[in-house]
Amino acid sequence: MAEYIKLVDVSRCAGCRGCQVACKQWNELPAEKTGFTGSYQNPPDLSFDTWNLIRYDEIEQDGKLRWIMRHDACMHCDHPACVKVCPTGALAKTDEGAVIHDPKLCIGCKACTAGCPFDVPRYSKAADKIAKCTLCYSRITNGRTPACVMACPTGCLSFGNKDEMMEKAIKRAETINGTVYPNNPKYPTHVVCVFPNNIKASDLSHTNPHPSMPLLVLLWKNLLKPFTLLGIGAVAGGAALHYLIKGPHEVHEKKEGGE
């Protein structure tokens, strides 16, 4: 089974929102009523019904305005924190690299919304479930590209074999003197961005400059979780040993009349 990567060449995004519309259409997601917030940003954020959007950032550099548009959606982590914390298996990692979500199994516990280093899964109180991008799993397993990639008119989004896309990203970054994001080899993702020259993740809104498995998730799932069983077991074993070695704490009756 081939492993895929979705490449987001941020330098090529024209902010047309074609990817947003295609995502809504393919995944049958309703439109949201939004308002004017003083920028092109619309809708304002990812939501239960909006699995991808373009983030519009106005950055001032050397007295000049730079308008950066970034396609933002699930990053499809190689070792996803959301899958690690999901109690029911509603979130799962596939061989293709996609992190998929089964709404039938989701119980709306919101552990994934807390665990995700990219703030991607979004909860709906009405549905009491979360929803997020699935990398169009039904499409990519049938020889098609994700809907957002298919709709992209500028070549900002591309989809393909993991190694080829990685090579493409590095080449493109070299050509435009940009950077590949995320660049944490310990936390690889199946969505890779190329940022334009002089643009760091910290310059952009809603972008984690140092994505990794969150420390609190590690503490919770790798330490406290096993220690729950170990702790209960150790204490029960200790009590049993105490009973066998020391024996029960018998009542010592005082002699009648003695104080």
């Binding site: 807390a114 703030d119 406290l224 702790g231 105490h242």
Partner: protein, 206 residues
Amino acid sequence: MSHHEKDMIMVTDATERIAHWILALSCLFCVITGLGLMFHAWAIIPTVLGGYYATKWMHIFSGVIFAIATGYAYFMWAKDSMFEKDDLGWMMQAGGYLWEAKNLPPVYKYNAGQKAFFWCVIAFGALIVVSGLAMVNAQIFPPMIARWAFMLHALSGLVIAAFIVIHIYLGTIGNPGTVGAMITGYCSRAWCQTHCPRWLEEKEKK
């Protein structure tokens, strides 16, 4: 004490016993459902209870009962659980539970270990309730706050679950004659002389 033998003494009244069992059963149910939600390998727990979604809500409702019962327990038992000077001497000898203790300071109603258990349930009970509330409403907090809530919920669950095991052991087979305190409410006079001599003395003076 009509139907009780003359040397039996009421150590816990009906209100205390009912409050204790509401607290204990809601806590135990939370531990069982919590373990079922934490370990994929224990899917049998949510399966028996009607699925993960039902288990989540049962865990939350049981948590609400636990929160109310813990709050009530605080007002009921805090006064008798205040630490005093003698508790240090009791603690230093582990109450004679681990090795032979000499001249253990006489206990009033609860010994230092019981007090420690009480305050542990109050402190980690408060933490587990607050973090649980934050988890239920995780969508209104920044992910970082929600992440702390999930971690602290797991931590306080661990502490409470481990303490429960000690509590059950010491309340039953570890201390013969004790379990009646939470069933009929009565313990023997000899039991009171062993476990709460100062309280007994004061009670009998009246």
